[in-house]
Structure formats: structure tokens, C-alpha cells
Subunit: 431 residues, 2 copies
């Protein structure tokens, strides 16, 4: 089931090819991704069948059936040859909702891909699913990551489900509530005092020395998993692909995966042209948006400010330049939005669409609204927002009292009167 060797990893920029896991960066400094060449026949079970309106008959590669019929393993031929283990087998297959109620607000024809319903509540699970399954397939016992947020939780939970030991490196002074959530799955947590940022890249070299396979945001294994969200979007909208896909951007690994998938689908004839990729950052920490504004070819580090979109506040994104290339090749854009706009967008998703998302996810809606105001997105453009994470993991400790009406419970009639006060007494068709 598992190939003896992984497919090669290649540079999107200069085209150089290398072996994995020995290399994750090109000689030119840019990150590498797996070079998977799709064949229409290979991919018959999923995207290809949907686009061509054919029946599907290709099963998953795993010996056991996946836990979910629409998991990412439908696209196994596009992944680096691993069989799903543990939570991995129920990853992906997330809903794609049409949100007509927010069309006016967003300034386009709006759909959202609700990644918050993955097993640990975020898009990170797609990359983790591939990474954890790879480590098991290649005989490893340990997996590691440098994160104090969604990626840490996802890696710890998936490792637990696959029988792997897990090392998580968090910054010193990470809030205890966050450590509690991650710690439930039993990882070894290391609080790092000092320069946390560079640890991201340095740890990738630790595999040989320590036997721990580090799977940080833009490693080829993660990018391969993150690709599947774009496969799913194109499959769901097979007969009428979206004009654009918008997502928040942090390391650039997610954006890279979306770009890679779209390129693969075009190469095999399943897309005539690439949907435009729009990336959104919080204004307080927007190195990729800054490089885009200033017309630079490369992303350089910024000094971060404070933002409520903490999980995308990355001042030195390791795949930032690749993300910029994705935007430029697809005719998209990068923009940044302030915390007020992010907060408002999050409220609109909650009240008009029933969706509770983390602030980083709301950033994508605020960004699309801003791009529509600027005229970069047209009202009749079909845009899919990727809502990257659930809001249920990020709740404040209080509040909410102000909207509550108190009812002294005496008789049912009094309850009815209280209700009629707000409904006007004609709430339904039966009155």
C-alpha cells in the first residue's frame, strides 16, 4: 500500500527536484512541494468524475474503509502515497454552503467552505492527516510541530489517534487554557523561551538527530493535505467553477496547497483556467499584503502589532513568497483588514449564517468585502471563502448577559405574553 519511496519534491519557482524527506527547501531558498502528476483515469473517483459527470468506481487506498465516505482519501492518487491512520480517515469532506444572505455584505455571489467541522476544528487537520499517516507508513514513532494554536492541537490529537508520540513546541507564556486544550491529547509540550520564530524552520533539520519528524505549516506533507480543500471545492462546483477562492494567509502553506491543486486540475484538463486566489491578512501583521502593495517579488519580515486574528499573525511567513506567486499567477490580490472589520465580519457570519468561526476565518470575509469595494471583485463574481477554523475553541469567559430578557416563571400565560412582546404575536403561519 505504501510506496517504498515518496514522490519527488520540487520547487515551484526554479523547478529543481529533490528527494523527500531529506529536503524540504530548494537551493534557491524556496519551499518544495510534492510533484504529483494526475492522470484523469487515476482520479476517476472524485474530481474527474464530478466534472465529467461520470460514475465513480475508484476506492480509497487504505485496506480499511475510511471513516467518512467523503474524506480526503477519495483523492488518494493526488496524495503522497500513504494510507490513512486514526483520525486521518475521517478528515475533509466539509460542507460548502451558499450564503445568499451575505451576498450584499460581501459584494459578490458568496459560498463558504466550512473547515471548522474537521475533527479538531480547523483546516490544519487535512495536512496533519497526510503527515501523521506518512510517519506511520515510514515506521516513525514521533511527530513534532512548532505551534501553539490549531496546528498544535491537530497534530497532538492525530498523533494520539495513530499511536504516535508527539512533541509540541510553544512559546513561553502561552495561555494556560490553550495548553489545556492541546495537553488533553498527551503530547510532550516544550515551552520555548527566546526566539520562537526561527524555531519553525530549524526544527525541520532535527529528524536525523532526534528521530522526530517535524511537520510545520508549509512542509510538503502539509501542503499535500491542504491541497484537498481545493479538490473538494472544484468537485462540488464541477459544472460551474468559482471565479475566485479567498482565504486568510499566515505561513503561506495553505495558499500554496490551494494553488498546487488548481494547477494540477488545470494540467489534467479539469479546469480551463485557475480561479483567482485572494489572500487576506490582519493589518497589524501583514508581510504578504505589504509585499503585494509595494510590488515586491519577495516577502520580507515585518514587526508585528496586536490583532484579534492571532492564528494568522505571522511576521515572517516561510511560504510567503510562494503565496505571492500564487496570487500573481492567478490574477488575484492580497489585502489586509483591521480588527474592527474582522470583528464585524465574524458577527455577520454568526447572525446571518449561523457560523461560529475564529477571528482569523472572519478575516477572509472582511477582505472580500474590501476587495469588492475596490472593484477587484465584481458583484456577479462567484467567490468561495475558506473558513479555516471553528469559533468554539475561542470563547470569551463572559458577556452575553445584555441580550437576555428575564422572565419570572409563574404561569404559561406570562411566558406567552413575554414571547408576544418580541414576536408581535404573529410569529408563524398558524396564528
Amino acid at each position: 500500500m505504501t510506496p517504498a519511496t515518496s514522490p519527488p519534491v520540487v520547487c515551484y519557482d526554479c523547478g529543481s527536484a529533490f528527494s523527500f524527506p531529506e529536503r524540504t527547501r530548494c537551493d534557491c531558498g524556496e519551499p518544495l512541494w510534492f510533484d504529483v502528476e494526475l492522470e484523469p483515469g487515476d482520479f476517476g473517483a472524485a474530481v474527474y468524475a464530478a466534472v465529467r459527470q461520470e460514475g465513480s468506481d475508484v476506492g480509497p487506498t487504505a485496506a480499511d474503509p475510511p471513516a467518512s465516505a467523503t474524506s480526503i482519501w477519495r483523492y488518494a492518487t493526488g496524495l503522497p502515497g500513504v494510507a490513512p491512520v486514526g483520525l486521518a480517515s475521517g478528515t475533509g469532506g466539509t460542507p460548502l454552503y451558499r450564503l445568499a444572505a451575505l451576498d450584499d455584505y460581501a459584494g459578490c455571489t458568496l459560498r463558504v467552505k466550512h473547515e471548522g467541522v474537521n475533527p479538531t476544528g480547523s483546516f490544519k487537520d487535512r495536512g496533519t492527516a497526510v503527515a501523521v499517516s506518512h510517519v506511520v507508513a515510514t515506521g516513525g514513532d514521533w511527530i513534532g510541530t512548532v505551534s501553539h494554536g490549531n496546528m498544535a492541537l491537530s497534530t497532538a490529537a492525530y498523533a494520539a489517534s495513530a499511536g504516535l508520540e508527539c512533541a509540541v513546541f510553544v512559546p513561553a507564556h502561552t495561555p494556560a487554557s490553550r495548553l489545556e486544550t492541546i495537553g488533553k491529547h498527551g503530547p510532550h509540550v516544550f515551552a520555548v523561551d527566546g526566539d520562537y520564530g526561527r524555531l519553525y524552520e530549524e526544527t525541520l533539520a532535527l529528524a536525523d538527530e532526534t528521530g522526530v519528524c517535524f511537520v510545520n505549516s508549509d512542509t510538503p506533507l502539509r501542503v499535500a493535505g491542504q491541497k484537498t480543500v481545493a479538490y473538494e471545492i472544484v468537485e462540488a462546483l464541477a459544472t460551474d467553477p468559482p471565479d475566485a477562492i479567498a482565504l486568510p494567509v499566515s505561513s503561506g502553506g495553505h495558499a500554496s496547497g490551494v494553488w498546487k491543486a488548481l494547477r494540477e486540475l488545470r494540467a489534467v484538463g479539469l479546469l480551463d483556467s485557475l480561479p483567482r486566489i485572494y489572500l487576506v491578512q490582519a493589518a497589524a501583521c501583514d508581510p504578504i499584503a505589504a509585499a503585494y502593495r509595494e510590488g515586491h517579488a519577495e516577502v520580507t519580515p515585518v514587526t508585528p502589532g496586536e490583532t484579534i486574528a492571532v492564528s494568522i499573525a505571522n511576521p515572517d511567513p516561510p511560504s510567503g513568497t510562494r503565496a505571492l506567486a500564487a496570487v500573481r499567477e492567478t490574477g488575484g490580490a492580497v489585502c489586509s483588514v483591521d480588527d474592527d472589520a474582522i470583528g464585524e465580519a465574524g458577527e455577520r457570519l454568526a447572525t446571518d449564517a449561523g457560523l461560529s468561526v475564529e477571528p482569523s476565518s472572519a478575516t477572509a470575509l472582511a477582505g472580500v468585502r474590501e476587495l469588492a469595494r475596490r472593484g477587484e471583485i465584481a458583484p456577479d463574481d462567484s467567490v468561495v471563502l475558506v473558513l479555516t477554523g471553528s469559533g468554539y475553541k475561542y470563547q470569551e469567559a463572559g458577556g452575553g448577559d445584555d441580550q437576555v430578557a428575564s422572565v419570572r416563571r409563574v404561569t404559561l400565560d406570562e411566558i406567552a405574553v413575554a414571547l408576544e412582546d418580541v414576536t408581535g404575536g404573529d410569529g408563524g403561519q398558524r396564528t
Copy 2:
């Protein structure tokens, strides 16, 4: 698309039939459920096709495709004739995991149905999906519920996504953090001082007066939606149905839905016999378990004590007697477990399976373990646990510090040494 009238509602006990929505209770006092007679041909798209190993060609009943290919709307012929609206269209299709790592702990061949990945993080979404869609289909503007937990959140979010106004009745002194979560979706929240318990049933009569359609735990609309989890379990294990299904029990509505679905599948020849239904309660509040232990035919109210499984602490379950009938007809059992056992089971799910669940969900695992100890469940029995809700909504404010190792960040070598201290230096195959 929507039938002019709903199917009849019938009594499981005496067989009397009534019209919906006029009646939700039988003259004998027992709750009613929709009487859906499946035909193998009608149900070809899902369970029938899976069991018979045939291709599927029946689409959803909605004009727009559902947001998820494996949503509950695959089973539209088993539901009371409504088209999905808003979040409803992406409900269900949850993963079914095989948890071999916990077989010894549970004392059986263990699988779990992970309901926490529904849109608002709990099994309640299935019932809400049907209820909200029904209210829209019948021209209503308001939906209501009596809950301060998963059902309140689910109803508020789904109502927001469907353009409905929502009234939520919570007990006075509900924690502010919980109101915050529910309140984000903009419902009208009423804090009720006084006897909260009876409000559950009394509000069902308010529709005529106020125009608000109340969809509490065991109303026929909810039970119809809750049925779909059993359809999915049987479909996924089509060629080898489980010996038993175990779930936590509160109102008895969920258990009723599972029982109803299994009866339907047997009636149409898709199950030879019914899997045994095992129900589990927290020892501090276990009216259904008490009635089972004492051999009573009916469930009577108890005085509740404190338990960590707050969302199933229902001292007067409205469908308790029906749930008891489900257990007796299928040869199952009801048991209760103490908070220590619940806590331990939750920890095992987190550390050995990567699953974060609310304490009520962990109750099911603790119960199966207890039943296996008693010999009611055999080691080679195939048992599916329904994990009803995500643990991410129920996080403590602190803790977690005790498991953290501190690393002073000076050199990469020091990081490697810290790692080697825990891995023993041979974590992977590459050392």
C-alpha cells in the same frame, strides 16, 4: 417539493395515529413519532444500496444540492418531507471510527460515531436540521426551544442560517460564558426564574398562541432527524451490522430516533435483527437506569444530584419510558456510571483516540466498560458508541501547565537534547 401535509405521527406503544403539528403526545401520554414507511426502492440512494451493494442513483429532494454529499438528506425519503435550508444542508455524514486501541478498555470491538463534527458540534444538529427546515417549509418565521446547552446553540445557529427568528428559554443563573456562545447567533434569550423543568412540555402548546414552533428534545421533528445517525451506522457497516449501539441518554429523544430507524430498516428487510440499544446515564441523575434496575415499565422523576455530565442530567425525561421500551425490545440495557468513571473514559478518548468530547459523551464509553465487566457485552461484540458532542465547547479556564517542559532557547542543540531526553534519541526510523 414540500408536501401539503406532514405524515401522521403515531404512538410506539398503543399505535394510535394523529396529525402533526396539532399533536405531539398520544392520549395515553406517550410521545409520538412520524410514521415513515420505507420502500426499498425509495431508499435506494443510501442504506439500501449499501446493504445490497448496488449503485446509487437517487438524489436529494432539495432543488439546490446539499452542502455535503453525505448529509442526512441522502435519507430524505425517511424524513418528513422537507427540503434543507441553511446549515441543515451540511448536517450529518459524520465519521465512524474503529478504535482498536480502546478495545481492551471498553471490553468489546469498539467503533465510535463522532457527532461532534456536526456544524454546531453536537448530535442535536440532526434534529434541528429537520425542525428548522420544516418551519421554513410551512411558512413559519419563529422557532423556539427550552435548553441552555447543545440544543439551544444548535437551534439558534440553524435559525440564523435559515432566516428564522429564534426564542431560547434558559434557566435563571445560566453561566454567562454559555449565554455568550448561544447569543452570538442573535436569538431572543429568556432567562426563566422558577420551575424550568415543566416548561419543556408546556411550551409545545404555545405555537397556536404565539406563532413560535417549539422544537424540544423529543418532538417528532427532532426524533425524525436523530434517526439518521442509525441510518448512517447501518449503511457504513452494511455487510456486518453492529451487535449493539450505545449512547448517553437524557430526554430519550435520541434513543427513540435510533430505535425508530432500526425498526424501519428491519421492516424493509435491511436488517435481520435489531442491534441491542445500550443507554448510559450519570449516576447522580439516572431516572431511566433506575427504572430499568427496578424492573419498572415506566420512568418516574428523580431528585437530581451534581454531575460533570451536565447535558444529560435530566431528572424527568419526557421520552424516558419510550427509551426504556427501546432497550427492552432490542435486548439491551440501561446503566449509570459515576463521575470518576466518566472522567477517566473522557481521558482515554483524548489520549488514545485523539477525540475531545464533552463529559456526557464520555459517559457512553464508561457505560460500555461497565456493561462488559458485568458480562452483558462480550469481548467479540461489535459495539458502536455515539459520541454526542465536541469537547471544544467545554473547556476549563486553566490547567495544563503541569505537563509542560520549559526549554531555554539558546541553540538548536539544546532543543535536540531536550527532545532526546524524552524520545530516548531513537524516536524514528532514521536514527
